[in-house]
Symmetry: D2
Subunit: 462 residues, 4 copies
C-alpha cells in the first residue's frame, strides 16, 4: 500500500464530517494522510463549504499539514485514492422525510433502512454507487471502498456482487452502542472491552452473543437484565440514539437466545413502533424531520469560524460512532491491526443459513487484506427464518434497484413484513416511485407510465 494516503469522502458535505475529521486526527500516528478530499454534488455545495472549512480549521489546530480538498468533481477526487468512504444521501434529508412519512400516510412504518423507506433509499442509491464503482475501476483500481451510506447492507451487496468491487466494506454504528451498553449493564466501566461479543446477521438486522473474560456465556443474563420487565435496568439502557426505547417482549427474546439489535423492534414489536411513529407523523416529529432540524442547527454552529473541534451537539444527531468506525476500519486495514469490528462483508459460509455469496454483517478481525469474519454457523429456527426472509427481501430490492424492475419492487414490498401486502402496498410503491422520480433513472419508463395512469405525488399532502 502507499506510503502516504489519499482519502476521499463522497458526501463530504455531511454534518458527520467533523466526526470523521476528528477520527482521522486521533489516528494521525497510524495514518500518514497526505490528502483528504471531500466530494459533494451541486445541491450540497453550500454545506460542503461550511463543513469543509471547519474541517480545515480542525486539521490546522491539530498541527497537521494534510491537504483538504473540497470539490464537486468526483473523478478528480477519486484519481489515485487509497480509501473512498461513502456517506452520501441521494435526495438529501427531504427524501428521507418522504421515505418515512409516505408509508405512515398509509398506516405503515417507513423505516429508512429496511422498511418501505429503506427499499426506496436503496433504489435511489444503487445507480449512484454503481457509477462510483465504474469511476473507481478506472481511476483508483486498488482503493478500498468503505460504505456507510444506508441501507448499508444492500449497498455493500450491490457494490460487491453487482459492481464487482470486492474491496468494499460496509459499516454500521449499531454494534458499538450495544457493546458499550452491555458492559455497563454487567457492571463494567463504561470504556471496558472485557466482554467478547460476537455479532451476526444483516445490517440493522443482526443478533449477538456475549461471553465474559472467564469464558462464561452471559447472553442469557444480559437478556434478563435488559428485557425482563422486573429488572432494574429495564428500559434504562439503550443501544441506539435514533430508535425508540420501547421494551422488547421479554419471553420472545428469551426464546431467541441471542440479543437483538435496536432495529429488531420494527419487526418484534411492530404494533407499538407503528403507534409511536403515527404519533410522530401527526406531530411532524418523525426521525427525519427531527434530524433535519438538528442538521440545520449543526450547520449554524459549523459556520462559526472559531469552531475548530467537533461540537457536543453532533452526538445528538444519532449516527454517532459511524465515523469513528470508519476511521478505525481504515487504520486497521492500513496497519494490519487486526482489530475486531462488526462489518458488512461477504458471507462465504460464515452464516450457513444464508446464501454463500451474499453480504452479511458479522464480527470480523480487520486485517491488511480486509475483514476475516469469525465463523457463526446456524441460528435457531426462530431467528433463522426471519433472517432468511430479510435477505430474500434485500436480494429482491437489489434486483429491482439495479434493473428498474417494477415486478421485483412490488415483490419486495410484498415480502417485507412491515409492509402490509395488498393493494395499499401497490399504491404506496407507486406514489413513492413518482415522488422519487428525479432520483430513479432506472425506473424512468415505469414512472412515466404511472404518471400517465394518474399516480401523483403532492408534497403538500405529506
Amino acid at each position: 500500500m502507499s506510503k502516504t494516503l489519499k482519502i476521499v469522502t463522497i458526501g463530504g458535505g455531511s454534518s458527520y464530517t467533523p466526526e470523521l475529521i476528528e477520527g482521522f486526527i486521533l489516528r494521525k500516528d497510524e495514518l500518514p494522510i497526505r490528502e483528504l478530499w471531500l466530494v459533494d454534488i451541486e445541491e450540497g455545495k453550500e454545506k460542503l463549504e461550511i463543513v469543509g472549512e471547519m474541517a480545515k480549521r480542525m486539521v490546522k489546530k491539530a498541527g497537521l499539514d494534510w491537504d483538504i480538498h473540497l470539490t464537486l468533481d468526483r473523478r478528480a477526487a477519486l484519481k489515485d485514492a487509497d480509501f473512498v468512504t461513502t456517506q452520501f444521501r441521494v435526495g438529501l434529508l427531504d427524501a428521507r422525510i418522504r421515505d418515512e412519512r409516505l408509508p405512515l400516510k398509509y398506516g405503515m412504518i417507513g423505516q429508512e433502512t429496511n422498511g418501505a423507506g429503506g427499499m426506496m433509499k436503496a433504489f435511489r442509491t444503487i445507480p449512484v454507487i454503481l457509477s462510483i464503482i465504474e469511476d473507481m475501476k478506472e481511476l483508483c483500481p486498488n482503493a478500498w471502498l468503505v460504505n456507510f451510506t444506508n441501507p448499508a447492507g444492500m449497498i455493500t451487496e450491490t457494490a460487491i456482487k453487482v459492481g464487482g468491487w470486492k474491496k468494499t466494506v460496509g459499516l454500521c454504528n449499531v454494534p458499538i452502542g450495544s457493546f458499550k451498553s452491555n458492559h455497563i449493564v454487567l457492571g463494567y466501566p463504561e470504556d471496558s472491552d472485557k466482554l467478547f461479543h460476537k455479532y451476526a446477521g444483516l445490517n440493522h438486522f443482526h443478533w449477538h452473543k456475549v461471553w465474559n473474560e472467564c469464558g462464561d456465556d452471559v447472553t442469557e443474563e444480559l437478556i434478563d437484565r435488559l428485557y425482563n420487565p422486573k429488572s432494574e435496568w429495564a428500559g434504562k439502557v439503550s443501544e441506539m440514539k435514533n430508535i425508540r426505547k420501547l421494551p422488547f417482549n421479554y419471553e420472545q427474546v428469551k426464546e431467541l437466545g441471542v440479543l437483538p439489535c435496536g432495529y429488531h423492534r420494527y419487526y418484534y414489536i411492530t404494533e407499538e413502533m407503528l403507534r409511536d411513529e403515527l404519533e410522530d407523523y401527526k406531530n411532524h416529529t418523525t426521525r427525519a424531520e427531527v434530524v433535519k432540524q438538528t442538521e440545520k442547527e449543526l450547520f449554524e454552529l459549523y459556520k462559526d469560524p472559531a469552531l475548530d473541534y467537533k461540537p457536543e451537539q453532533l452526538t445528538k444527531r444519532g449516527g454517532t460512532h459511524y465515523s469513528e468506525a470508519a476511521c478505525e476500519l481504515i487504520a486497521s486495514i492500513y496497519n494490519d491491526k487486526r482489530t475486531v469490528m462488526v462489518v458488512s462483508t461477504q458471507n462465504n459460509g460464515t452464516i450457513t443459513d444464508l446464501p454463500y455469496d451474499c453480504i452479511v454483517e458479522v464480527s470480523s478481525v480487520i486485517t491488511g487484506h480486509g475483514p476475516e469474519p469469525f465463523n457463526w454457523g446456524s441460528f435457531k429456527p426462530c431467528a433463522r427464518g426471519i433472517l432468511q426472509m430479510m435477505k430474500s427481501m434485500e436480494e429482491t430490492v437489489i434486483k429491482a434497484g439495479v434493473n428498474g424492475d417494477y415486478d421485483a419492487a412490488l415483490q419486495a414490498f410484498t415480502i417485507n413484513p412491515i409492509v402490509t401486502s395488498g393493494e395499499t402496498a401497490r399504491t404506496l410503491l407507486n406514489e413513492m416511485l413518482v415522488a422519487n422520480k428525479d432520483y430513479l433513472p432506472q425506473f424512468e419508463t415505469t414512472i412515466e407510465k404511472l404518471i400517465e395512469e394518474g399516480v401523483t405525488y403532492n408534497p403538500g399532502d405529506l
Copy 2:
C-alpha cells in the same frame, strides 16, 4: 404387507367419512379390505353412529363384505392395523370457530392452518397425534399413518420427527384443485392429466410449475391466464372451495415465476383477505361458522336410512378431494402403483432451501415403500425467504406444542407475518390459550398462571 387389510380411521365420525368410504369402494379391486374401523371420542359418538351406519349402507349396497366397526376404543381399533388415517379435529368445530374469530376480534386473520388459528390447532393436535403414535408402536408397529388432520404439515413433522413414526404421510387436497383448474384454463378437458405438475413447499404454502406434453414450460402462460387482470379467466377459476377468490397481484406473481397456492392469499394480499374476513366476523359467516352449518345439514341427510351414497352436498363442504387423496395414497402404497401425488414427507434435500430433516409438501411418486419425491432444488429469493420463514414458524410451533413452551409460542406468533407483533399478539395468545384450556394439557401450568393473572375467555364475547 398383509394379504387383507385392516384400515382404521381416527375421527371416523367426520362428515367426510362418506367420501372416504366411496373412495374405498371405488378401489375395491385394488384394496382387499377385511375390516374398516371408524374411531371417535365420546363427544363424537352421535356423529360416529350416524355416519357409521351410513358407511355400512354404502358398503352393503356395493355388495362388499367388509366389517365396519364403530368404536370409541382407539386401542382396540389400532390392534394389527395396516393403515391408520387421521381426520380428527380436537375440540370439534367450536374450536375452529374460536381459532378464526378470536384473532379477528383483535384485527388479525385467524387462518386455521398457518395463522394464529392454525398454530392453536397445532397445539391442540400435537398431544393427540403423539399419543396415537405411542399406541401404534405397541399395537400396529408396521402400519402406515395417513394424516389429513390440519395443520397437516406440522402434524406430519411432529409425527415423524418427534414421534419417530417414519411411515407417516401427510395429505392435502389443495393441489388436486389447481391440477384440475390448470388443465381447464389451458383448454384441456376437465379430467385431463396431460400437464406435468411439480409442486414444492409446505402444506398450504407451496408453489408449482407446469409443463405441457410437448415439454414446454407453461407456468408463465398460466400465471398470465389466471392472474393478469386483462385475462378472460381472471377471477373465474379457482383452485379452492374454502378460500376467497380474491385476485392475486399479477406483477408480484409474475416475479415469483411459480404458481402460488390458494392459501398464499393470506400472505400476498393480506389487506384484502383481512378486510373480507372482518366482514365475515361481523356477519358470523366465518368459514368455521359456515362449515358448522353445512355439517349440521349433512348429518341430517346422513340420518336418512335410505341414503346409501355420498350426497352431492358434501362437495360444498370444502375439503373435497381429501378422502379421495387418502384412498388413492393407500392404494398406491399397497399396490406399489407409483402414482404421482403431492404429499407431506421428509425433505432429505428435496428443497435445498429448507432443513434436511424437516417435512415438506412435494410432488412424489407413491411406491410400495412410500413417497419418492421429485427433486426440486432451490427457489428464487422471493419465494425462498418467505418459505424459510414459514418453516421456522412451523418448527417453533412444534417446539411450543410438544413442550408447552410459552416463550416459543409467543415467538411463533411474533414470527408469523399475519399476526401483528407486539402486545396485542401476546393478549391474543393468552386469550386463545385460556379459551383452549380443555385441550392443552401441555400448557396446563401456563394457563393456570394466566387465569390467575386475570386472563379470561368469555365465549359470549366472541
Copy 3:
C-alpha cells in the same frame, strides 16, 4: 415439438449403430422419424458406409420410409435436427488401446472412463463436444443432445456447464444390467420390472437401493445374495459384460449399505483388478484390444449385403443396452412417456453431498421437458467421501480439458486414487499427452514443450 423427427447420430459409423437402428425400428409407432443422419469423420468413412448400408437394409426390411443419410458433413446433418445422439470416439479404438495400455506400462489401471485413460479420453472429447454445441446453437437451437460418448458424465457436465447446452442428457447402460440381474437373483422372471430401483452417483460410479413390490427394502438381501462368498449366487451373476467379475469384498459392501456398480471394482478391489489387467497387458488382451478384434469381425458381418438385422455377435461387444437406452430416452421425451431411467443430468440438489450445479447420474422420470430426478439426499460417509473426491476429479479434468491446463491435468492425475501420485504419474501424463497430440489442440503448446524436453511416445513400445 416437430410433427416428424430428424435424428442425427454423430459417430454414426460405430459398430453399435445397428442396435440403435433396431431400437428406432422397435419404437416406430412412437417416433415419427422422417430423417436419420449418420455422421462420421474422414477416418471413419469406410465403417460409416458399411454400417450405413446395413442400416438402410434394416429399415427397408421393416417397411419404413425413413431417409437414411450417410455424411461427413456434420453441419448439414445438424441443420434442423430434433435429436442429436453422440457415440463418437475421438482417435478410434487405437486411442482406447493407448488409454488402457500406457498406464499399465507404468503399473496402473488405465480404465477408459474414470482412470488415467478416461481422463485422457475426456481431454480428446471435450473440444469436439464443445464444437458440436457451437454448431447446434446455430443450426438446431431446440434439439436435445443425447450423449453416450464416454466418459459420459464428464462430457455431459462439459456440454451443460461449459457449453451451456441445457438440453443434454447423458446415458449409461450399466444400470440396465444391474436392474436385470437383481430381478434374477431375487427369483423374478428375467424380464420382470417389479423391483423399484433408485440409483445415484456419477457415471460409472453410482450406487443403488432396491425395494420390492411390498415396499420392503431388499438392498441388504441383494448384497448378501450377490456378494456373500457363501451365497449360491456368488460370482455367478454379473451386471456388466466388459468388467471382470472379480468378487467385491463382502464386508465392505455390507458397510456401504448400497449396491455398488461394476466399475466400483476399480476402486474397491484395485489390487485384484490391476493384477488381472497386467496379465491382459502381457497377453495383449486388454479390453480395448479385444473390442478392436470384435469390431473387426462385426464389420465383416455388416458387409454381408444379406444381413438386415442386428447380429447376435453385437451383444458380445459390451456396450449392449446403450442404444436401447438412447432410443427409449428419445421416445420418452418425445411422447412425455414418463419412463423411469438412469441418466446423467443436472444435480440441483438431488444428491446433497455434491455441488448444486454439477452433473450426476440418477434415477429420473423422463418427461417431455427432460429428466425429473428422484431426490436422493445424502450418502453415508463411506460412500459420500469417495463420491465427492471423484466429482472433484471430474471437475479438475474438465477444467484441464477445456483450457489445456497442464497444472490441472497433473492435479487430476494426483487426485485419482487409481493413479499412484508422484513422479511416475507425471511421466505417464506427459507420455499420454504426447501420444495423443493429434487430438489435443488445447494442449498444443504444452505438448510441443514436452517434446522439446525429450518426452516421446513410441507406439512400438506399447
Copy 4:
C-alpha cells in the same frame, strides 16, 4: 474459572513432558498453577518417575512452589482438575513400530496418523479417551480437555461427538513449523509474526493461505519459492522435523492455490514417500524406530539428577512445539488472551465442504470460552474432494473404533488412498488387529474369530 489451577497431564511419563514443564514455567505469570499432576499407567511407571523427578527439578530451579504429583491413579488426578492434557500413547512406541512396519511389510505406507497405522492407533486410543471422559464427567465436569494424542483430529472428534465433551480442543504442532518457515522464506526475521496465516482442513491434512502486512496475498509467491524446482529455496526449508523433505510436485501445488502441509506428501507424492519408507523398513530406520532410540537417549539424559532444564536433544524428537502449543492454549483460555492458534475444533460451517458437526483443524482466536474459528468457506474442487474423502475416512474409523465394527474398519481401509484396496488390505487389517489384541477390547470377538481362522502375528517377522 478457579483462582488457582490444577493441571493434569495424562501420559505424563512422555519424553515431551520437560517441554510442557518449560512451557508452564515460561507462562508462570499468566498461569496461577497450584498443582501439576503427571499420570501414567503401570507400564510407564519408570519413565514417569524419571521425567517426573526432572520436572520437579525444573520447577524448583524456577523458584516455583507448584505441587508436582506423579501418579498411576488417574481418578485421583482428575478430581477437580481445571485443565486435562492428553499425550498418552496406547501400546507405547512398540505399537507405533507395528503401525509403521506392518503396512510396509505389505508394500504400503503405514503413516501413524492417517494411514493404516493411524487408523489402528485410533482404534487403540478411542476406548481410552472415552473412558477418560467418563471419569471427567464425574470428577471435573468443568475442565478443558486439551488433546494432543494422535490421530489428534479423530480423537478430538470422538471426544466431542461420541463422548459429548464439548470443551475439548485438539492440538497440532505442524502449523507452527510452516508459520516459521514461511516468514524465513519471505525474508522476515525468524521470530517474526508479520504474516497473516489462515489454515483449514483436518489434522495433518490442512492447507493454508498467507497475506503480508500490506494485505497482499503471498500464497502464490510462497508456493513458487518453496516448491518451484528452480527456486533458491527448493528443498532447503522444511516445515517438519519428522517428515521427509521430498519435494512436492510444483505444478500440482500451483493448481491447488493453497499451501499444503507436510503430511500431504503421503497423498501427493505417494510413490516417492513409499519408496523411501521401504528403504527405512529394510534398514530398520522407520520413524518409530528412530524415535524409540532417541527416547532411550533422552531418558538417559533425564536420569541425570543435575539436569534441571529442557535438553537440546529433545527438539530432535520431532514433536517440538506441541507442548508449547498446549501451554499457550491453556494460557489463552485462562486469560481470554485471544491468541490466534490452529486447533481441532467443531466445524459449525467454518469449512462449508464438510459436515456441520464434524471436527476440523482451523485458525482460531482462543478466547476464554474456547476457540472462535475464522470462517474459511469452500475449497477449490481439487482440495475439496480429497478433504471430503479424508473426513469420510475419519468418520468411518471412528465408527469402527467406537463399536468394534469390522465392516467399518475394512471400509476405512478401502477408502484410504494410501492403502491399496483389495485382499491384501484385508490381510493387513486382520494381522494388525491380531497384533494389537491387547489394546482393542472393542474388537475382542472379532480378533478371537480371526485367530481361530488362523490369522497370526509374529513379532519376529516384523
